[in-house]
């Protein structure tokens, strides 16, 4: 079956082996990635791809859900929505109307660590996009009724993505338990009661504090060269007052002392599920050297039907119908390894959990054979080549790396780093992540008393 593959940071890619010049195949080429700073200090990154005369313009701000003001969860995401609701120069909906009229496709996204606004458009409209983005970066000014209306929209978004989905309700509970002190414990979309009280002043204060060139990175991919891009970026962004870079004062997550457990009953659930979270080494943790080995570990143990966990729990023991791992290593705050397992008919969640724990204990001794390790590395390395095919993907990936404090050229370093991973590194990664005291386990079940 082609079911769920491991949800490694999808962005994640390996080495770049191909040349940009047609016809010649050099053995060891890297993806061309250039970076420069504007006169006001704003960073610009360029990833050329001349297949079609289109570009992706992705403007990222170093602010995300984890920066929500205390008691104001959902604010970063609300701010993202309000960015489409009017500036002094362009009223509500104008950004959308103008971009569409020029054949552009736009969207935005908020993560815990950063917020991104992208436009895919024909190359000749790049300056129009920059003009509009520079305008809403500093001149956000929606009318009061748009705030109220858009607050309703984000509340409906919460209903759609969380309150209507039992799995999401469980994930929200588990995340709050996983991070006792770190702002990651709040849902990105916000807690409902706090969302209902978000105000215009909240958004404008938040926007004023975080939205300026010193806190922004522009990534442009597609049919553009530095000679074309740099003067345009200087013209539209370079002259804006820089502002101060965001220095984070996030509450630290103290050492965790005991495993947590939650059971969620929901009347819409027909299929029980087992979920386990572990705090994991990541891009910003002290043990960041274990990040790449964690990617390899996640692939080996839970990356598909050949993985050790699947072979044991699903094929041999028939205790589960599926099991998969997800690892979000590219993170500014603490990273997490997530395991999802669906029990076979007649198997209870506690039975499945016991079997899972046994496999985890076994992994502390050994994870896979040398062949397994080689295959996992081959897969991870190939991801980068595949990713280069989509200009929009490339913008998102480079953006994610840079927003997480990794160097611009990390994309090109990836294959070498993956290649260097040894069985001993994978063992260290397993020991570092599988600490029961730093875990949360969740049971998703139908309503109590129902079948």
């Amino acid at each position: 079956m082609t079911g769920r593959q491991i949800r490694l940071l999808v962005f994640f890619l390996g080495v770049l082996i191909l040349p940009l010049t047609c016809g010649a195949f050099a053995a060891d080429s890297r993806q061309d990635i250039e970076t420069f700073t504007l006169k006001n200090g704003m960073q610009v990154i360029l990833v050329p791809n001349h297949r079609m005369p289109i570009v992706t313009h992705l403007l990222l701000y170093r602010v995300g859900g984890a920066d929500d003001f205390p008691g104001r969860s959902g604010l970063a995401h609300y701010n993202e929505h309000m960015m489409f609701q009017g500036t002094k120069a362009h009223g509500a909906g104008e950004f959308a109307r103008i971009i569409s009229a020029n054949g552009g496709v736009f969207n935005a996204f908020t993560t815990r660590d950063y917020t991104g606004y992208y436009v895919n458009i024909a190359k000749e409209h790049l300056s129009l996009v920059m003009q509009l983005e520079a305008d809403r970066m500093l001149n956000l000014d929606p009318d009061e009724q748009h705030f109220l209306k858009e607050r309703q929209v984000i509340i409906e978004e919460r209903r759609m993505s969380v309150e209507n989905q039992p799995e999401a309700l469980l994930a929200e509970e588990m995340q709050a338990m996983m991070f006792r002190n770190h702002p990651y414990h709040n849902p990105l979309i916000g807690w409902m009661q706090e969302m209902q009280a978000l105000s215009r002043d909240d958004v404008l204060s938040f926007h004023r504090q975080f939205y300026h060139p010193a806190n922004a990175v522009l990534v442009v991919t597609g049919d553009i060269t530095r000679t074309e891009l740099q003067p345009l970026a200087e013209k539209y962004y370079g002259g804006l007052p820089a502002g101060t870079p965001n220095v984070r004062h996030w509450q630290q997550e103290p050492p965790q002392r005991g495993p947590r457990h939650i059971t969620l009953h929901n009347e819409n659930v027909k299929q029980p599920e087992l979920v386990r979270y572990y705090i994991a080494p990541g891009a910003s943790s002290e043990d960041k050297a274990l990040m790449i080995p964690e990617f390899v570990l996640a692939q080996l143990m839970g990356g598909g039907t050949t993985s050790s966990m699947y072979q044991s729990l699903v094929v041999k023991q028939k205790l589960a119908t599926s099991v998969d791992f997800s690892y979000n290593g590219i993170s500014v705050g603490p990273a997490m390894l997530e395991i999802n397992a669906v029990p076979a008919v007649g198997v209870s969640l506690s039975q499945l959990e016991a079997a899972l724990d046994k496999e985890i204990a076994a992994s502390l001794v050994q994870v896979g054979t040398p062949d397994d390790l080689e295959r996992a590395k081959i897969l991870l390395k190939a991801d980068t080549t595949y990713a280069r095919d989509s200009m929009e993907s490339m913008a998102r990936i480079i953006g994610a790396l840079v927003m997480s404090g990794l160097p611009v050229d990390y994309f090109n370093q990836w294959p070498t780093l993956v290649d260097a991973v040894t069985a001993d590194d994978v063992h260290k990664a397993a020991v570092a992540v599988f600490k029961p005291e730093a875990s949360v386990t969740g049971y998703l079940l139908p309503e109590e008393g129902s079948k």
């Binding site: 009229a101 209507n164 595949y386």
Partner: protein, 432 residues
């Protein structure tokens, strides 16, 4: 692999093409009769292949064995030739091959992406998977259990409920009305023999439409085709599916009770078949009605003005035997009635007055300007070519499509609007 001057010549042609550097399609014929549409792109060392099987898909599921076609698709990488599931998947991983399946009511499709250096292995493995699937008993039972548990998980999703209920009514009496993935009960009825028979009739013996994009030449494509499809000696004999018109709604929405705080609404109106000359007018009409999330009538009235929903959109949908417009929005339980009323008002407005010249122009600008954005990867190109082959749009369609949109007149759109929006929308709600 050596590079020839001929390759450089193609690559040069490729870059000098004015509108779509990536869109020079060649038809490649193999000696065994297999053909493929090929777009060469030597900028990256990857190749993408897509194969669609005609007259396959959920519409061909036997009665009481709904989900059979889907089950077959899930078995294709679960053992082939001499390799069981584990050996096959290890081989795919060893060469970093990406294999995927997709399915709708009319067509099963298979896609494969490979790094250039491993494409030989990739084509060998694809050939095995398509020509010698094993359907080993233990794999069948394991996949069965997974399909059933996935279905049970989907049952917790009100959007999935809404789409199943809608289908059952919209296409009542026609194979399209049935659940594509089956139900836990129907999946339990399917035997290994059923799987093998379906595979033989609808995949092995089926006509194929093939697309290839990437770092491969016409000669290499010809070789691949000969390997993939060694013979075409059987006829599928699948019972043809008849065309169907979607049903209108009744006096009130169909309400399905589920304990969720947000009511999910799915609605439809009749559309046109893909081959209908009015199709492009429908695409323009749809863009105005519910195509742009922040710029369409539905988006503006339901989301932008009133904050009633996070999404409120319409789409032009087509299968080989039917065409329709679908509408989707969701809002909190207490506002569902209000949101539906607003939707019905927009339907009535559209029926009475159609769209304005300004709306027509804005829609055309967006549709033509954004067209190439959807072709930004090998996979996107392969998928687009698959639709072009499926609906016989012609090899030069990529160059003609914008002209077709630009040629749509206001009177065409409004005549169509009057026709379509005079029907009563079929509305299904899932919620409390």
């Amino acid at each position: 692999m050596s590079r020839s001057a001929g390759l450089l010549f193609f690559a040069f042609l490729f870059f000098s093409s004015p509108v779509f550097a990536a869109a020079k399609i060649q038809e490649v014929d193999a000696s065994n009769g297999a053909k493929a549409w090929l777009i060469e792109d030597h900028n990256l060392p990857i190749v993408t292949v897509r194969v669609d099987f005609a007259d396959s898909g959920a519409a061909y599921d036997p009665k009481d064995k709904e989900g059979l076609a889907f089950f077959v698709t899930q078995m294709l990488n679960e053992g082939a030739g001499e390799m069981d599931s584990l050996a096959l998947n290890r081989a795919l991983e060893k060469y970093a091959i990406r294999f995927g399946v997709d399915m709708d009511e009319d067509t099963i499709s298979v896609s494969l992406q490979a790094l250039s250096e491993f494409k030989g292995h990739a084509f060998d493995l694809l050939s095995l998977m398509l020509n010698k699937p094993r359907f080993d008993n233990d794999a069948v039972e394991r996949v069965r259990a997974n399909i059933v548990s996935d279905l049970k998980q989907l049952e917790a999703d009100p959007s999935y409920s809404a789409s199943l209920h809608w289908k059952a009514i919209a296409f009542a009496g026609h194979p399209y009305s049935r659940p594509k993935r089956g139900t836990p009960d129907s999946i339990e009825q399917i035997t290994r023999t059923d799987l093998q028979q379906y595979d033989r009739q609808h995949l092995l013996c089926s006509a194929r439409r093939i697309e290839v994009v990437g770092d491969i030449t016409a000669a290499e494509t010809r070789e691949m085709l000969a390997k993939l499809f060694p013979s075409f000696s059987c006829a599928s004999g699948a019972t043809p599916v008849r065309d169907v018109k979607i049903r209108d709604g009744g006096a009130a929405p169909i309400m399905v009770k589920e304990a969720v705080p947000q009511t999910v609404i799915t609605a439809s109106l009749p559309g046109v078949m893909r081959s209908d000359p009015r199709y492009y007018a429908l695409v323009v009409l749809n863009q105005v009605f519910g195509g742009g999330v922040l710029t369409s009538r539905l988006g503006l009235e339901i989301r932008e003005k009133r904050g009633l929903a996070y999404y409120a959109e319409s789409d032009v949908d087509a299968l080989e035997h039917g065409g329709w417009m679908s509408i989707h929005f969701a809002t909190r339980r207490e506002q569902a009635g209000n949101a539906i009323r607003i939707f019905m008002d927009e339907v009535e407005k559209m029926r009475k007055k159609g769209i304005t010249e300004a709306e027509l122009d804005a829609a055309k600008l967006y549709l033509t300007g954004s067209f190439s954005l959807g072709l930004d990867s090998q996979e996107a190109l392969a998928d687009y070519m698959a639709a072009m082959q499926r609906y016989r749009l012609g090899m030069d369609y990529l160059d003609r499509r914008n002209d077709k949109i630009n040629a749509v007149t206001l009177s065409e759109v409004n005549t169509l609007a009057k026709d379509i929006f005079s029907h009563k929308p079929l509305v299904v709600t899932v919620g409390q």
